[in-house]
């Protein structure tokens, strides 16, 4: 089954907690991140702004007859509040349900007819729509995106049928997936005030209540050219792109400036923990520490630390929990960097015959070691090599590059950080890594969720 949307948390989960499931191929893949100045090709990204405030980013790439058109809107689940949790994601679905000149679902069908692929996903911080097309249809993809930027037709009947689809998606991704359930619970525990308290998939309780008026208000508030970035990467030239952008998006008037979520999560003062008993085959322990927002100067050192803890089978967590003590099947961590303060996640998944307390102790002991003794020069160099190589591997596809640009624009706050990359990590020292470990990875800042098999679950025996 093809996926239509990917809420960010679960996307992150698929890169971490879900991929801890024993898929060997995934575990060995290089991680993505910044650029190594010495080997990365220079990226000549062009940027301009239309009179209506639409930011445009363009990168030519003539390797293959392919181009991608992506529109990122600066709105996600953190712009929701209790009562409309899930509306950003539901809205993403509505963007396929018809506009003045495009009947429901025709957007995707029209693009398929010309060899294109289209999809969308919603995160906490932004919502992205993407089309990948043969280069001569870039203008057509823009025409369709411009159409639904301001001409959506929000009918009660389509809202109702799509609500059912979104509920099925939640059943699929969260309710019927123990990892999905655990992560939902984890967020609820880790955040008290900030809307990262819920994930982009939202709650069925709130979705049931979303009205056409809620949808219309959401649309008029956030789906405006001055709240969007259009990204084009591929086998097209700049002059043609400039002309097409002006033709399709130029006539759209500027909208009011959208409000920004202002909730501030109070500092955590003591450890939070919970044990979930579910009908799950492999127990999991997930820990998370609050870390600063993506644009903070401490983030690169935290990403380096994540690579040292979990980059490949030589990493600290894998070595300790899987290789040396044979406690876990998989163990790792990542800096879940978000626009507002995110989480540094560590996890281990293990066979039910192992002792959960021992697994947890070993996991937290490795964090304590990083705090107490820092990291070695060799580990630091390895982490930087991994981050640099991962960035270059990420340049292989036009979709990948466009997506990174959009994420940098709205999560880091500036797309220009993306092509710079290397310096972010090259400047990180062992002392920096030790310092951020001591500052953030402390027990009073930890939320811990244990997912354990429920002995009385659905199994016969």
């Amino acid at each position: 089954m093809r996926r239509i949307t990917v809420p960010a948390l679960l996307l992150a989960a698929s890169a971490t907690v879900v991929s801890m499931l024993p898929t060997r191929a995934l575990a060995a893949k290089p991680s993505k991140a910044a650029v190594h100045a010495s080997v990365a090709p220079a990226l000549e990204i062009k940027s301009w702004e239309l009179a209506n405030g639409l930011r445009v980013l363009f990168l030519a790439n003539h390797v293959a007859p392919i181009a991608t058109v992506q529109v990122f809107y600066h709105v996600g689940s953190k712009d929701e509040h209790v009562g409309i949790r899930g509306v950003a994601h539901m809205f993403e679905h509505m963007m396929f349900k018809g506009s003045d000149h495009v009947p429901p679902e025709e957007h995707a069908r029209l693009l398929k007819e010309v060899g294109g692929q289209s999809n969308a996903f919603t995160t906490e911080d932004f919502t992205a729509y993407h089309e990948t097309v043969p280069p001569s249809y870039v203008g057509f993809a823009m025409q369709l995106e411009a159409e639904r930027m301001r001409h959506l037709k929000l009918l009660p009947s389509t809202i109702d049928s799509e609500r059912k689809v979104v509920e099925e998606e939640k059943r699929l991704r969260v309710d019927n997936d123990p990892i999905g359930k655990a992560l939902e619970r984890f967020r609820l525990l880790a955040y008290e005030k900030h809307p990262y308290n819920w994930t982009a998939i939202g709650t069925i309780e709130d979705l049931e209540k979303v009205t056409p008026a809620d949808c219309q208000k959401f649309y008029d508030t956030y789906y405006q050219p001055n709240n969007a970035t259009l990204i084009v990467v591929g086998d097209v030239d700049e002059a043609a792109v400039r002309k097409l952008v002006e033709q399709h998006f130029g006539p759209i008037p500027r909208g009011p400036e959208p409000p920004r979520a202002k909730a501030i999560e109070p500092p955590q003062t003591k450890r939070r923990e919970e044990t979930l008993k579910l009908d799950v085959q492999l127990p999991v322990v997930v820990g998370g520490y609050h870390i600063p927002r993506a644009s903070d100067a401490d983030v690169p050192a935290l990403e380096v630390l994540a690579a040292i803890l979990s980059g490949g089978e030589s990493s600290r967590l894998y070595q300790r929990l899987v290789r040396k003590e044979h406690l876990a099947i998989a163990a790792g961590g990542l800096a879940e960097v978000l626009e507002d303060p995110g989480l540094f996640i560590v996890y281990a998944g293990y066979l039910p015959d192992r002792d959960g307390a021992t697994v947890e102790k070993a996991l937290l002991d490795e964090i304590a070691k990083a705090r107490a003794r820092g990291v070695t020069a060799a580990e630091l160099e390895k982490a930087k090599n991994q981050l640099a190589a991962g960035f270059i591997f990420g340049l292989e596809t036009v979709d990948g590059v466009a997506r990174e640009l959009g994420e940098y624009q709205y999560v880091q706050g500036d797309w220009r950080e993306f092509p710079k990359g290397a310096s972010r990590y090259l400047a990180v020292t062992a002392a920096d890594v030790e310092r951020v470990a001591q500052k953030y990875l402390v027990d009073t800042n930890l939320t811990l969720v244990r997912l354990q098999p429920d002995a009385g679950g659905g199994a016969k025996k």
Binding site: P30, E105, A108, K112, Q143, S161, I179, A389, E396, G457
Partner: protein, 530 residues
């Protein structure tokens, strides 16, 4: 809503299902439903609620003319054979300093012995990274040495087996080409299979087996394959923890010695390389790999379905059911493969453009996703429809799905639908050119299936050559809505209530019951344990 089950196909030979047999003899054997022709009874939801706003609207956006099929402009591919028979294919790309090497060995799950060595192909592949022996001018490497080396350069090194083949690959920045070749040849030519490393791989495989129970789609797939392909076809074999426990170091060594041979393998190099400089490097890395005769595979049989049957796999905590429905498919090299694939594009292979998605998701809102596929396999594969829907809507979804399959069989796709499918392939197939590893993977698949590089080059032309008559023939001869296998993983009580009254042959099991139906039957013969 009142529904009548139609007597579409009477099957007097219909056997009662294994454990629950509530159906009278002579009941229906196919999934179908007719609605009472009564103006007061509600119409199926499908007919309702099509918003009128867009009807007769004259200013709708139309698609521009579709792209035309053309031979793929492949990069300058070089191909040669080493003296030991290793086939080499190089796909260059110079703008990005990355390179990947991939060795495909023409052996996998199809070459296992069900009683003796089920799982050995995967186990062997997973052990490759766990240590190597010393060779001429080369030191032995431990598992940790190998991880440290590849991790230090930020590269990837892994191996895994499928039914048809086993792949070992390495990806690095171009500057690390030497290391990559060194590691890859070491793990393939000189694996040590250390006894001390078996436990970790065994744990990992056991965890993967346990994990199936948390993944309804995967669990449904295992049951579907077991029932469709049967116990005489490796695709029907379900790996068990007992199989994994039986694998010894000797079995790994034997499997490796038998099948890991250069004359049974294909090496692809993709990315930033100079083929001329590569020749001596490959000779040095793989020239010492000794060739040997490799045993031929037996011909695998696929049992035919005799009647529609439904397997309900009960997992009480599920709020949503995962449905797999299908029957025999065809092999990749079948003359009808292109016609079948294009026909399936229309039926369920094209997301929102497909008839299934339109009917089951867009009109009825029953599912987040529904699709169908034929796959591309060396031997006869499966035609498979997959969908998920809340437990209470299973029957409604099944009826909608089978209705579409039946309509497709009877009438085939329309010329307009086929034209849209051809436009899709003509435009999107060349996207594969953007990564050399993607091109290489396409070529390897074509080679393994006996189709050759021409297949990749001419793919869109061959798709464009499918005419309406071919597509109709494919639909008529390949689809069989009256004889399907249905596997439903969901809440058994909720699903059973819907299936039992239909008269179809059905069976309900617990999700932890053995996946092999033969193993379940054997258990039943034994007296129940106290």
């Amino acid at each position: 809503m009142k529904r009548l089950v139609s007597l579409a196909l009477m099957m007097t030979s219909l056997a009662a299902c294994a454990s629950h047999a509530p159906k009278p003899p002579g009941s229906v054997a196919s999934i179908d439903v007719q609605y009472e022709d009564n103006p007061t009874s509600p119409k199926p939801k499908a007919a309702a609620d099509e918003p009128a706003f867009w009807k007769n609207k004259k200013d709708l956006i139309q698609a521009p003319p579709p792209p035309q099929a053309a031979a793929l402009a492949l990069p300058n591919i070089t191909r040669w054979k080493l003296k030991n028979g290793l086939d080499v294919i190089v796909v260059p790309r110079e703008d990005l300093p990355v390179v990947s090497f991939s060795v495909a060995i023409k052996a996998g799950g199809y070459d296992e012995d069900k009683a003796q060595s089920l799982g050995v192909a995967d186990f062997t592949a997973a052990m490759l990274r766990k240590g190597t022996l010393a060779g001429k001018g080369k030191k032995a490497r431990s598992a940790d040495d190998i991880s440290a080396a590849i991790d230090f350069v930020g590269g990837g090194l892994d191996a895994s087996a499928s039914l048809e083949s086993t792949t070992a690959g390495c990806s690095v920045l171009a500057k690390d080409t030497g290391l990559c070749l060194d590691l890859l040849s070491d793990i393939l030519l000189r694996p040590a299979f250390p006894e001390s490393e078996l436990g970790e791989v065994r744990d990992e495989m056991l965890a993967a087996l346990a994990q199936r129970y948390d993944n309804p789609r995967e669990l449904a797939g295992e049951h579907f394959d077991n029932l469709l392909f049967g116990e005489k076809n490796p695709r029907g074999w379900a790996l068990t923890p007992e199989d994994v426990q039986k694998i010894t170091r000797d079995k790994l060594l034997t499997y490796w010695k038998t099948y890991y041979r250069p004359n049974n393998a294909l090496l692809t190099v993709a990315g930033d390389v100079d083929p001329a400089k590569l020749r001596p490097l490959l000779e040095k890395a793989f020239g010492g790999w000794a060739k040997a005769d490799v045993p031929a595979r037996p011909a695998f049989k696929m049992a035919a379905l005799k009647a529609t049957r439904v397997l309900i796999v009960d997992k009480p905590d599920l709020t949503q059911s995962t449905i797999l429905l299908g029957h025999r498919g065809l092999r990749h090299a079948d003359p009808l493969w292109f016609a079948a694939t294009l026909m399936n594009y229309v039926l369920g292979g094209s997301d929102f453009s497909s008839r299934l998605m339109t009917e089951v998701r867009s009109k009825r809102g029953l599912t987040y996703g529904v699709g169908s596929s034929y796959g591309a396999s060396l031997y006869d594969g499966a035609f498979e429809v997959s969908a998920s829907t809340k437990n209470e809507s299973v029957w409604e979804a099944l009826v909608a799905i089978v209705g579409e399959v039946r309509k497709m069989k009877n009438d085939g796709p329309t010329a307009a639908e086929l034209a849209k499918g051809k436009g899709y392939y003509a435009g999107s197939y060349p996207f594969n050119l953007q990564t050399p590893a993607g091109v290489a993977a396409g070529i390897v698949e074509a080679e393994l299936h006996g189709l050759g590089i021409d297949y990749v080059r001419d793919f869109t032309l061959r798709m464009a050559a499918v005419d309406e008559a071919h597509a109709k023939e494919a639909a008529l001869t390949l689809l069989d809505p009256d004889t399907v296998l249905v596997v439903i993983v969901g809440n058994g009580d909720a699903v059973e209530k819907q299936i039992a009254p239909t008269g179809l042959r059905w069976e309900r099991i617990n999700f932890k019951d053995p996946i092999s139906h033969a193993a379940r039957a054997a258990l039943k013969k034994q007296p129940a344990s106290p």
